[in-house]
């Protein structure tokens, strides 16, 4: 039997991320994902998951399949993509993280609005607390939480000079059980390969879309039985790991 292939972009911001375009409404994200042929997407706002439910409603049975996600900013100022098995688990993490964010109000003129928008593009509410901030949760505790709640953790843009794991923490240690590593720019991968000690992890790349035109520009193809969280988790485990095959060529210092 042939296993179907699914085109996946698991790093998409919506109107709830202050730095994201206000065009990134639930309906618009779904329309764009269909146009560019994505089969599975994940909505990953900064420290929030809420808009994922509306994107899922907008997609409906016609697709794409929508996974509930978050881009968590940990105490170490590391960005982690988290993918949750269902919306209840996602909301549980949102509530935990929200309580650990500094109680600082967003300045919409400077950072942009943080808007919850339903599947009909109706505004539900404006989030007041600034989401572009570190939650007082350590990277180890976040990963432990994910493990205990059947969720996936993929450090975002690990080679990026801002909020990337290698920049912030020097290297990717073998000790933390991540599910994959996201690289933003594959041309920069060689520079960080010597710092990836956990060589068995899959290396993936997603769009990190803040604008509609970004969606699907970077993506991976997974072969799974059906477009569900459980199948995605299984397929990720067998996704290629470039770090092992490329080996550790000497890289230039990052800074």
């Amino acid at each position: 039997m042939r296993v179907p292939l699914f085109s996946c972009d698991f790093h998409i911001h919506s109107t709830l991320s202050p730095c994201s375009s206000l065009d990134m409404s639930s309906r618009a994200i779904v329309d764009r994902a269909r146009v560019v042929g994505l089969d599975i997407i994940a909505i990953t706002d900064h420290n929030m998951v809420e808009n994922g439910q509306y994107v899922a409603a907008a997609a409906g049975a016609a697709g794409p399949a929508v996974l509930f996600g978050m881009e968590l900013q940990t105490r170490e100022e590391v960005h982690l993509l988290m993918l949750f098995p269902d919306f209840e688990t996602a909301m549980e993490m949102q509530e935990t993280v929200y309580g650990l964010l500094p109680p600082i109000d967003n300045d919409p003129d400077y950072f942009g609005d943080q808007v919850v928008v339903d599947e009909n593009d109706t505004i539900i509410r404006f989030e007041k607390r600034l989401l572009l901030n570190s939650s007082a949760i350590s990277i180890d505790d976040a990963v432990a939480w994910a493990r205990a709640h059947g969720s996936l953790v993929i450090p975002s843009h690990i080679e990026s000079p801002t909020f990337g794991l290698v920049t912030q923490l020097g290297f990717v240690s073998e000790g933390i059980p991540f599910d994959a590593l996201e690289v933003a720019n594959e041309r920069r991968l060689d520079a960080v390969l010597p710092f990836i000690l956990a060589k068995d992890l899959p290396i993936v790349t997603f769009s990190d879309a803040h604008y509609l035109s970004d969606i699907g520009k970077k993506r991976i193809t997974l072969s799974c039985g059906e477009p569900t969280f459980a199948e995605v988790a299984k397929a990720l485990r067998s996704f290629g790991n470039t770090a092992r095959t490329r080996g550790g060529s000497a890289g230039a210092p990052l800074l």
Partner: protein, 112 residues
């Protein structure tokens, strides 16, 4: 100057007990980006950082950093302290913010 002399002179709390206190400190470095520390910290430094992830020990080992100072009285995990003891890296803590800690370290190392 030894790590012990530095800790006593600046009234720093020693979290790792008696290990590593006789190591010599010649320089200082301050940064919270571990990649920056790997690239730029001088050997035999004392390092001031708010980072408390276990990777700080790997970086300290790599750069022969004798002691790490945590500012602002931030809480340190017992596990990190145990690993630091095993690696003979001294963990020190100050109630003062990093800016003041760095100022004091600079002043005393300049005199030494």
């Amino acid at each position: 100057m030894t790590v012990r002399e530095l800790a006593e002179a600046l009234n720093l709390e020693i979290l790792t007990g008696g290990v590593g206190l006789r190591q010599e400190v010649e320089h200082g470095y301050v940064s919270d980006l571990l990649s920056d520390v790997i690239g730029n910290a001088p050997e035999n430094s004392v390092w001031v950082t708010v980072q408390r992830h276990v990777n700080i020990l790997g970086v300290a080992k790599l750069k022969n950093i004798a002691a790490i100072i945590t500012p602002r009285g931030l809480k340190i995990d017992g596990e990190l302290i145990e690993r630091a003891r095993a690696e003979e890296i001294v963990l020190l803590r100050s109630e003062r913010p990093a800016f003041e800690v760095v100022g004091m370290v600079y002043g005393i190392l300049k005199k030494a």
